[in-house]
């Protein structure tokens, strides 16, 4: 898996990366601390995945989160994870939708 070109070109996407589910770096775009971010993304996906299982949501597919000035989306793509960090945070919803399509997730 690589960073989807559609996502990489969007001006709202300030940085992005692909990591393994264990948090290993696969690809990094405009992110100086890719190794650190990949570790956190891997931890988030495994922790939230477990939480989703506990809540009966099924396997984790995407996580979106917002801070005051920036938001982020993590999408599961097979054995890997794609993460995009977005400004302004209000754009997270649209980026999430694009990312889901780019990694081949279809809504029921």
């Amino acid at each position: 898996m690589t960073i989807p070109p559609l996502i990489a070109k969007l001006p709202e996407v300030k940085s992005a990366l692909v990591s393994t589910r264990q948090g290993g770096v696969v690809e990094v775009m405009r992110e100086r601390e890719g190794e650190r971010v990949a570790a956190v993304v891997g931890f988030l996906s495994s922790t939230l995945g477990e939480a989703g299982d506990e809540l009966g949501l099924g396997h984790l597919r995407r996580v979106a989160f917002n801070g005051p000035g920036r938001g982020g989306v993590i999408a599961v793509a097979g054995a890997e994870l794609v993460a995009a960090f977005v400004e302004p945070p209000s754009s997270v919803a649209s980026i999430e939708k694009l990312l889901a399509g780019a990694v081949g997730q279809k809504e029921a």
Binding site: M29, R32, E35, A39, F43
Partner: protein, 632 residues
């Protein structure tokens, strides 16, 4: 008037550089009423020697002919041949000086040790008491009363050896001054009541003095510490024996009971002989050892997966303050001082199980455990000693902490075997002592020796210990050291038939085990509610490479990584932390966070990328991302 009264009193302290016989006097190491003691070099035998130069004045003050008095003292000591008595090499008169050349004990006196480091632990103080009692017993058997037993005359040599010195006031029962026996000599703090009353000093007086010295070793002060001589005298004569537990609260009751008896006012109420005192001291030493064992024998539920049940539950060491404040760690996560914890995780738990199984196997008498000095070998030995200490006698020793040739002496002392002078006699005494326990129905004792080096001077003693175990079956042996111990033993002539010896090797961590180990101990060390500390996947790979799979190296690097993270106030450990942390010894105790290295503006440099790539390739991963990445 005796002939000696005509002698002039020379300047005894001004003889540095002078030569008396073969001895070149180098410096003053002690002064007393009887003379001055120099450290000297024996220029014939090229060994350090203690040379005591007699003070005429002291001899004359006691009404003695100095030369006769001096020769009597020398002959008196020369009658004693005991490993716990300072040995005499010779005595002579040269011009106006009479001197005795003696064994030099290169350590402080017990008095100096207590003055410098405070009271000794009950084990160490009782061990010193036992050794001094053995020396006194030998003296009394030869008809010699020491008359000046005190902490300053207990010389503490290498490897915990204690020797009784300065028989300068000793009174031989067949000596020429029996008629002056009522003269009060000795040091007030340790002098027995009957001697204060003007009676003759006897072996029981020495026992009292040794008891008073033991009191000082345990508490840091003598039993009766009056403001003047009269007050001290009255206390010795009439005051009840002070309870040392009022000064050292957690002192074992057995130590206080021994003191109560040794310091009894009536000589008849004391230990009947120095040998009885020695037995009493040995019993306390065994009780102290078994108290440690019983504390470790708290029954615990079986651990999952057949892991050995932990025998000891010591409170975990707290996290160093910088790690506690910055990262919320409540205990030290990578403390190898605790023998228990790293050995509950594979691969170390597996080798620990194998080692325990081999020791429990009735047919196995010898286990060799191979591993480097950083493999966790020492901690594994401590863990196994802790596991087995409750069920059998375990004599555990690290050879790098003993002087060359000190192994058998140490084992004999630890086993309560009698002191012997020759190595062969010591081995026999050890076997006899441990065989007695076997005959009484105890399981075979276990001798664990770590840091065994076939090239060292102590290896002959190791081979002797192993050969005796294989020959007699009185005890089992675990030897831990670099690989090749079994071959070295065979080379030293130790013949072990098949099935009686087992060779084990401490395995190294595989990379995936490294990450699991770090994560497990980080989780265990975090306080309740503290956010997690993460280890990046590439950091785990690099850590496995830089620690070379050795647990002690891994512990050191991992704790240093935490220090770096604490300085940055970050909770993700990255390849930079591994890289920077592997360059030093443990930082947690020595360096403030403000002095920690900080990450560079661009990380990683190309040479590190190449190394990380190599780690990733060996783990079946693609190289570190390049191309569109701003890392380039």
């Amino acid at each position: 008037m005796p002939e000696s009264r005509a002698y002039k009193t020379p300047d005894l302290a001004g003889l540095v550089g002078a030569k008396l016989g073969n001895y070149r006097l180098e410096r003053v190491i002690g002064r007393g009423r009887m003379g001055v003691v120099y450290l000297a070099q024996d220029e014939a035998l090229l060994r350090p020697t203690a040379v005591k130069v007699l003070s005429w004045r002291a001899a004359e003050a006691n009404g003695h002919d100095p030369v006769q008095w001096f020769l009597a003292e020398a002959r008196l000591i020369a009658r004693l041949n005991h490993p716990r008595v300072v040995q005499i090499y010779g005595a002579a008169r040269q011009a106006e000086h009479c001197y005795i050349a003696m064994e030099y004990v290169p350590g402080p006196s017990a008095e100096a040790a207590v003055a410098q480091g405070g009271p000794l632990s009950p084990e160490r103080a009782t061990d010193a008491l036992a050794q001094a009692a053995a020396a006194l017993h030998a003296a009394h058997r030869s008809g010699i009363v020491h008359r000046d037993v005190k902490p300053a005359n207990l010389l503490m040599g290498a490897g915990g050896v204690v020797k009784l010195g300065d028989f300068g006031m000793a009174l031989g029962s067949a000596g020429p001054w029996t008629g002056n026996a009522h003269l009060r000599v000795g040091t007030p703090y340790y002098t027995a009541p009957e001697v204060w009353s003007g009676e003759a000093a006897t072996p029981a007086s020495d026992i009292y003095s040794l008891g008073a010295s033991y009191f000082q070793l345990l508490t840091g002060r003598p039993p009766y510490d009056g403001e003047d001589l009269a007050a001290i005298e009255q206390a010795h004569l009439r005051a009840p024996v002070p309870d040392p537990r009022q000064l050292v609260r957690d002192l074992p009751p057995a130590c206080a009971a021994l003191l109560e008896r040794a310091l009894a006012k009536s000589p008849r109420a004391r230990h009947a002989s120095a040998e009885v005192l020695l037995w009493d001291a040995r019993r306390i030493l065994q009780d102290l050892a078994s108290m440690r064992g019983s504390a470790s024998a708290v029954p615990l539920a079986p651990a999952p997966d057949g892991e050995p049940a932990p025998a000891e539950r010591r409170p975990p060491p707290p996290a160093p303050a910088p790690l506690a404040r910055a990262l919320g760690l409540v205990r030290r996560p990578f403390a190898d001082v605790d023998p228990e914890e790293p050995y509950r995780l594979d691969p170390l738990a597996t080798v620990r199980r194998m080692l325990l199984g081999a020791v429990e196997d009735p047919s196995t008498m010898l286990v060799t455990l191979a591993g480097s000095g950083r493999s966790g070998r020492g901690a594994l030995c401590r863990a196994v000693a802790s596991d087995l200490g409750a069920s059998r006698r375990v004599l555990s020793v690290s050879l790098d902490e003993l002087p060359a040739g000190g192994l058998l002496e140490h084992l004999c002392r630890a086993a309560g075997a009698p002191d012997e002078h020759a190595e062969e006699a010591r081995a026999n005494a050890l076997v006899e002592r441990l065989s007695e326990e076997r005959r009484a129905g105890a399981p075979p004792a276990l001798v664990i020796a770590d840091a065994v080096d076939p090239a060292s001077g102590s290896f002959a003693a190791v081979a002797r210990v192993v050969a005796a175990a294989l020959w007699t079956g009185a005890y089992k042996v675990v030897l831990a050291g670099e690989p090749g111990l079994a071959a070295a033993l065979a080379g030293a002539g130790v013949d072990f038939p098949g099935g009686r010896a087992v060779e084990l090797e401490i395995p190294r961590f595989r990379p995936e085990e490294t990450a699991r180990y770090v994560r497990t101990w980080l989780e265990a060390a975090l306080g309740r509610g503290a956010p997690p500390i993460l280890l990046s996947a590439d950091a785990a790979l690099l850590l496995a490479r830089r620690s070379e799979g050795e647990v002690e190296r891994l512990n050191c690097i991992a704790e240093n990584m935490l220090m770096l993270a604490a300085a940055e106030r970050k909770r993700v450990l990255t390849t930079w932390h591994v890289w920077a942390a592997s360059d030093g010894e443990r930082w947690a105790e020595t360096r403030p966070l403000s002095e920690m290295p900080r990450p560079p503006a661009h990380w990683p440099p190309e040479e590190v990328v190449l190394l990380i790539d190599a780690c990733r390739r060996s783990a079946g991963l693609d190289p570190w991302p390049r191309g569109a990445s701003p890392l380039d």
